[in-house]
């Protein structure tokens, strides 16, 4: 189960972007790369939240959560039509 990949929504503290990145997308990709070689960014978000979504194992998600600038690694939710 720990290796099964699920989608997570990663909330980032926009102002915490290190100076060596020109723009947030690079920073997000680098932060993801630092915990997983296989994971790729599904979406980046910048209007309603700052962050991105990606397929991660639980271990990678936990590792990411402790990274500077990462606010929250939130498991994706499946919603139903009412």
């Amino acid at each position: 189960v720990r290796d099964e990949r699920k989608t997570y929504i990663v909330h980032m503290a926009r102002s915490a972007m290190p100076n060596d990145f020109a723009e947030h997308g690079e920073w997000y990709a680098a932060s993801l790369q630092s915990v997983s070689d296989a994971a790729t960014v599904l979406y980046t978000y910048d209007t309603l939240l700052h962050g991105y979504s990606a397929r991660l194992t639980r271990a990678e998600a936990e590792a990411l959560e402790s990274q500077p600038g990462v606010l929250l690694v939130n498991p994706e939710t499946r919603y139903e039509l009412h």
């Binding site: 699920k6 989608t7 929504i9 909330h11 503290a13 926009r14 102002s15 915490a16 599904l42 979406y43 978000y45 910048d46 209007t47 309603l48 939240l49 700052h50 979504s53 397929r55 606010l71 929250l72 939130n74 994706e76 939710t77 499946r78 919603y79 139903e80 039509l81 009412h82």
Partner: protein, 654 residues
């Protein structure tokens, strides 16, 4: 939709919504299963050019061209990256990899909110009339985020983000998940930033009623909508061989049954399966049901699917009986054989008759569409109820709107029952759910936005709530079909929406983003949660030398919680005058059964000399000890010569 505009008094209020009779430059964004653009509800005759600044568009797909967009349907996009990451590639033999709606739900909700007027609309002859959206001149943009396997939050968030940057004024989401904390609930997260940009967000409360604490989408910056009935019904009468006659509902429109009684059998007696009474696939013994009317129990498989099972087994007709789970709630279905749904009591009596009479017989007579039904509205049993488990101090749902047996436009990919084997194709369909009541409020919000361009989302929600009614003309409370008793604010919030009054509410309870931030401090959010939810990383959002309280959020309703030992609770509110100068006097009362709750309001008179003026008041609630779990209810009303501004009160002893 047909009948709803009349039921809501919209046919009489063009004068009240002068600007929004044009309402032309208000854009409603609908996150759902997409759109069937060829429907006449998206006809753009008489509409002016697409609003300046609009950035949306019709995305292309194998069955969807950018030319599908016009001056009514000004945007149609689809989002499936999250869905396909979780579920694998979309099966294009079953679903369109495009904005096209293969389900019907998204076409139904978007045309309910803002569909153009379409004469001669009906479903198989039922509910005939001119189908109009709530805001027939507003523009529509659809964002397909729901696929056969569900609606995934990474797609929803991206769609909300794109809708906001496209330039929508209203966001309508008839979908929900469990009750997660706001900062973990993607719809709440997206809605918060949308609210900050002045976008009104309305969501369905959920169909998990009538149990308590069953609602979704309870964030205070979202308008949470429950469902009620219209004054329209589709009666079908079941006459048994013993002469007893029972009323049910049906949208069956095929060949009628003979008027002479036909053999009647209970499915549980015509099956080898232990669950035979549910009329599930392959469960009925053809020799036993051939040529008969079969009594099936509701549950497990889809209602119309049971009709397929009976028909395939050679049955001539079906009576579908509610069980305790649905009680007396009747939802009309487009059965594919002569079939009718009946309430639990009638079903139980019929079952006894079918099992005891040596030669049970029955007949079904279909009576078509009846209007003027009373009492109406009644609260749908399925409509999810409060209290708001995430923040009990915020009363939810906010209000109810029509959500039972609503006719609106439908997809061309699927029949009216939504079942794969249903080869019928219809331009309009009748379905029920808080999915249907939400877009009613979204469309009404669009009308208000057009009539009052300067109103915040909170002011629009306030106007819709404080002008809602919670009783019938005879003074009796709106009934809850689940109990047969008057509904409480935990069922209906402020009550049933009344747009003709909402356009001129007198006073509004406005709430700014800063007020919501204080609310987050009041629910003890830390910097991380606040940053994750609001996108603003302000370490000192909650000041150490201030006190924050949920009772200070300027909400248009009151939710009071006492310990079992009783006590007092103080709420503060500020109202903004949006009408004529005037003096308002307050009346307020609440009680838990015969035990009064003391409600005192200071000051008891508010005088406004100009529009835009704000005045504040304090409400002190006090109550004696009551058993934990007791609920009490009441209402706080400010009245002037011209306006009545009502707020529900819910009191809970924890």
């Amino acid at each position: 939709t047909t009948r709803t505009p009349e039921f809501l008094g919209l046919d009489r209020t063009d004068a009240l919504f002068p600007q929004s009779n044009t309402g032309r430059d208000v854009i409603v964004g609908v996150l759902d299963t997409g759109v069937w653009p060829e429907r006449p509800s998206y006809d753009d005759a008489g509409l002016g050019p697409v609003p300046a600044g609009w950035k949306g568009k019709c995305e292309e797909g194998n069955d969807f061209n950018s030319s599908a967009c016009n001056k009514k349907l000004i945007g149609a996009r689809f989002f499936l990256t999250g869905y396909e990451a979780a579920k694998g590639p979309v099966d294009t033999s079953k679903e369109s990899r495009s904005p096209r709606d293969n389900d019907g739900h998204g076409t139904h909700t978007s045309s309910t909110a803002a569909g153009s007027a379409v004469r001669g609309a009906d479903l198989l002859g039922y509910a005939a009339g001119t189908a109009k959206g709530m805001a027939p001149h507003a523009r529509v943009a659809t964002y397909k985020v729901c696929w056969a396997g569900g609606c995934f939050s990474s797609d929803i968030l991206k769609a909300m983000e794109v809708a906001v940057t496209d330039g929508v004024d209203v966001l309508s989401l008839s979908l929900g998940g469990g009750t997660a904390d706001y900062y973990r609930d993607s719809i709440a997260v997206g809605a918060y930033s949308a609210m900050e940009r002045g976008i009104f967000v309305s969501c369905s409360a959920g169909n998990a009623g009538p149990g308590a604490a069953t609602l979704s989408n309870g964030a205070p910056w979202i308008t949470t909508v429950g469902a009620g009935t219209l004054d329209r019904d589709f009666p079908a009468h079941v006459v048994l061989g013993n002469g007893k006659n029972y009323s049910g509902v049906s949208l069956y429109s095929g060949k009628q049954l003979p008027t002479t009684p036909m053999p009647f059998i209970y499915a549980g007696n015509a099956s080898n399966s232990s669950m035979g009474s549910l009329c599930m696939s392959g469960s009925l013994i053809p020799e036993k049901v051939a040529g008969k009317i079969v009594l099936c129990d509701r549950g497990t498989n889809a209602r119309v699917q049971k009709g397929f099972v009976v028909k395939d087994a050679g049955g001539a007709g079906m009576v579908l009986a509610n069980t305790a789970a649905n009680g007396e709630e009747l939802v009309a279905d487009a059965h594919i054989l002569p079939g009718a749904g009946v309430g639990q009591k009638a079903g139980d009596t019929m079952r006894t008759y079918a099992l005891s009479d040596p030669n049970p017989t029955a007949s079904i007579v279909f009576a078509g569409t009846q209007v003027g039904i009373k009492p109406s509205p009644v609260v749908a049993a399925f409509s999810s109820r409060g209290p708001n488990t995430v923040t009990p101090g915020i009363l939810k749902p906010d209000l109810i709107a029509p959500g039972v047996n609503i006719l609106a436009a439908w997809s061309g990919s699927v029949g009216p029952s939504g079942i794969a084997g249903d080869s019928r194709r219809v331009g309009f369909n009748i379905i029920s759910g808080t999915s249907m009541s939400c877009p009613h409020v979204s469309g009404l919000a669009a009308l208000l936005r057009a009539a009052h361009q300067d109103w915040s989302p909170a002011a629009i929600r306030s106007a819709l709530m404080t002008t809602s009614y919670n009783g019938y003309a005879d003074g009796k409370g709106i009934l809850d079909v689940a109990t047969g008793l008057p509904a409480t604010p935990l069922d209906v919030g402020a009550g049933h929406v009344d747009p003709s009054k909402a356009v001129d509410p007198g006073l509004v309870y406005d709430i700014t983003a800063a007020d919501y931030l204080d609310f987050l401090c009041a629910i003890n959010y830390g910097p991380m949660q606040i940053a994750a939810l609001t996108k603003h990383a302000t370490a000192d959002a909650c000041s150490a030398n201030r006190t924050y309280s949920v009772t200070s959020l300027n909400y248009p309703s009151f939710s009071v919680t006492f310990p079992a030992t009783g006590g007092t609770e103080k709420h503060t509110r500020t109202v903004t005058n949006v009408g004529l100068p005037g003096t308002y006097k307050v009346t307020a009362s609440a009680a838990a059964g015969s035990t009064p709750v003391t409600v005192s309001v200071e000051p008891s008179t508010l005088t406004f000399t100009k529009s835009g003026e704000k005045q504040s008041y304090t409400v002190s609630f006090a109550a004696a000890a009551m058993p934990s779990g007791t609920n009490g209810f009441g209402r706080l009303v400010w009245s002037s010569d011209h306006h009545v501004v009502s707020s529900p009160i819910a009191v809970t002893w924890t």
